[in-house]
Symmetry: C2
Subunit: 404 residues, 2 copies
């Protein structure tokens, strides 16, 4: 099981992709419309944001995926098509136009939008862009990865390959971050493809399992978006024995899927708005996995912890404080905390109290751009990892005037 | 019922106060130790942080207040005395030293600490400072208000006077903000005094009622502190008929107390770390007061809303988004949103969808330094106000390297 160099959603057999500038964004050098097309009907599943305010495209997608089958994903950036009176109508218009261009049913289309909320979407630009989008479909996934980016600085596309029942199979994914990111699904847009043969039901189960441990454990700013979703399409062209139950093949598939989604989670966190550092909070030896997740997310979400990490300041008291208000009934006096990076590891708190440590060495460790905050609860056997980033001047800058 | 010019904790009859630099802070121009002394035994009550990690002084205070009686408040800034193995011991040592200097029982002392977590507190400095602290007790409350400040830019002291059963009575308060501020009590330090005669039980009840609507509705950064508390001492020297039950006098007392605590809540929010603007989120016509409070706090806590307000950007979609993830079962399609300041008021969202508005006028309104975000749920009769501030470069700067 390994990552493929330059892997993307087009790595699995049966998928093409494209991305163009259609005119939603003013900046003509920025792509704003992406397409993934499956050459055969796919089993499909999706997970949606838990925000009560849901983007119009999500409602439309939910309807379309009721039968567990899909052929295409279309997604624009630059406008979320959310909180607009005619949002669903325009999402359906987009699907209708794509239906004609690809000769597929509208019910087989997954649609997403990302960008500013509450501004009318330029439907003429989208419909005008569809012919070029369809014409430029190819085995290159990168234009699609670029087409869904908003404030992301880095495109996110990955693929893994592995063997399943004697067949070589693969899973590919593209994603966008990078603000309004908080647990409670889906915290982002991510479109996944695979050539594994798997029933819609098992695909749905696998996706939920992978999301729980990875995408739902990212926090950039505590704001759960209205539009985020993760979808997966499985073409079945790898010709493995179809996965229809929770057997060894299913477990292997989930493992590979988690490998992709964890990598994307990490890359989204690292590319969080304004971020200069990736933070991972690793909670170990906790009495329940729910507590471990809640505590890890509480620490990674703390503005004070995030600001301290930006300043390379080993202010571990803020870590303990964020554990204390996480709402979990834990024994604070058993907790050990260390900071770790490629420069080394330094224990700073034992049994819930400070211990003497070298500020100089701590600083050296925290100056690195990938930092692990290790929280050992010493009270059980469960663990969880949460992904986040530091809080910086640039986060404020980016979000102080996003719309202009 | 009105505010008194230059009112403070010394306004009510029977209270003296002082503040000195004792040496916890390096900067000799910054006071770091404060005292409030009651000339007679007072009924007393307090509310404490809900963080599981509690400062040592809070544990000591809780023990001391078990009998509902107090004579003095001592509080240092510059060190939270939290997450130190010998924290309680040192808090008791402080009380012992004060006991001797004031000739009162250690059990009658309320003790607080605020500042960095997890560093040993300089007990010698505190004990060395107590003689000067006691000698300088006077009817001037300002040195005490200054002695408890940390990153606060503005000292916070207020007093109201009103008539109660034919007697002139007053309530005074000092407080400190300004980071690590989040609902769930007490999110700050505030020490209140009054000369009203009231039983410890009713005083406790009144304090909890006032805190619920004011201090618990402030959010600066979502981090619930380990050390925060609000205490109140009532000297009874106004000689009103003692309040021992929930009668008209009790209601009037609560009203006056809320007037003081609301003013302090507002001043703490406005002086939030790095803040340039006070934000008030006013949720009206909601189906329950719990929903109204939760929604108001969700909006005022949103990093994206706070950053937009910093940038004077009428990005109301973020307001709706924060309502959507608040976890309350409400009808999004009924919600109206307006922005308001002394420059005017502008509706931006009706029935959960955007309406056309002048960006120019909106900008003018949002450039003011006190902004109200009005959220009309159009689905009930309850309301709540939450207090917060914008998210700025300076918040990041202050918290990126707080300890040095």
């Amino acid at each position: 099981m390994n990552f493929i160099e330059n892997g993307s959603v087009t790595t699995p057999k049966g998928f093409l992709a494209s991305g163009v500038h259609c005119g939603i964004r003013k900046n003509q050098t920025k792509k704003d419309l992406a397409l993934i097309f499956a050459e055969v009907p796919c089993t499909a599943a999706a997970v949606y944001t838990k925000n009560l305010v849901k983007g119009a495209p999500l409602k439309v997608t939910k309807d379309h995926l009721a039968n567990g089958i899909a052929r295409a994903v279309i997604c624009n950036s630059g406008n979320a098509n959310t909180c607009n009176a005619d949002g669903e109508e325009k999402a359906e218009m987009t699907c209708d136009a794509l239906t004609k261009a690809l000769n597929i049913s509208a019910e087989d289309i997954i649609i997403g939008s990302t960008g500013v909320i509450g501004q009318p979407i330029n439907i003429d630009a989208i419909i005008g862009g569809i012919p070029e989008l369809v014409e430029s479909l190819s085995k290159n996934g990168t234009p699609a990865a670029e087409g869904i980016m908003t404030t992301d600085l880095v495109k996110k596309e990955y693929a893994v390959e592995f063997e399943l029942g004697g067949k070589k199979v693969s899973i590919g994914a593209i994603a966008k971050g990078s603000g309004m990111i908080n647990p409670n699904m889906a915290t982002m847009l991510s479109f996944i493809t695979t050539d594994v043969k798997i029933s819609a039901e098992m695909l749905n189960e696998a996706l939920h399992m992978a999301v729980e441990d990875t995408y739902n454990m990212i926090c950039i700013d505590g704001d759960t978006s209205t539009n985020d979703m993760v979808s997966i399409m499985a073409s079945g062209l790898a010709e493995n024995t179809e996965i229809t139950e929770k057997n060894a093949d299913f477990d292997l598939f989930v493992k590979a899927l988690v490998m992709v989604t964890a990598q994307i989670a990490k890359s989204i966190a690292k590319d969080g708005e304004g971020a200069t550092k990736l933070l991972r909070v690793i909670v170990s030896n906790c009495k329940s996995v729910e507590f471990a997740r809640t505590i890890a997310l509480s620490v990674v979400s703390s503005s004070l912890v995030k600001a301290a990490m930006f300043g390379s300041d080993a202010n571990w008291g803020r870590v303990l404080c964020a554990i204390g208000y996480a709402g979990c009934d834990v024994d604070i006096t058993k907790i050990d905390v260390s900071f770790k990076s490629k420069a080394g590891e330094i224990p700073v708190c034992e049994n819930g109290a400070g211990i003497p440590f070298s500020e100089e060495i701590a600083k050296e460790i925290l100056l690195c751009d990938e930092i692990d905050i290790l929280v050992n609860m010493n009270d059980g056997y469960q663990r969880a990892i949460a992904y986040g980033c530091d809080l910086t001047y640039d986060y404020v800058k980016i979000n102080g005037d996003y719309r202009t």
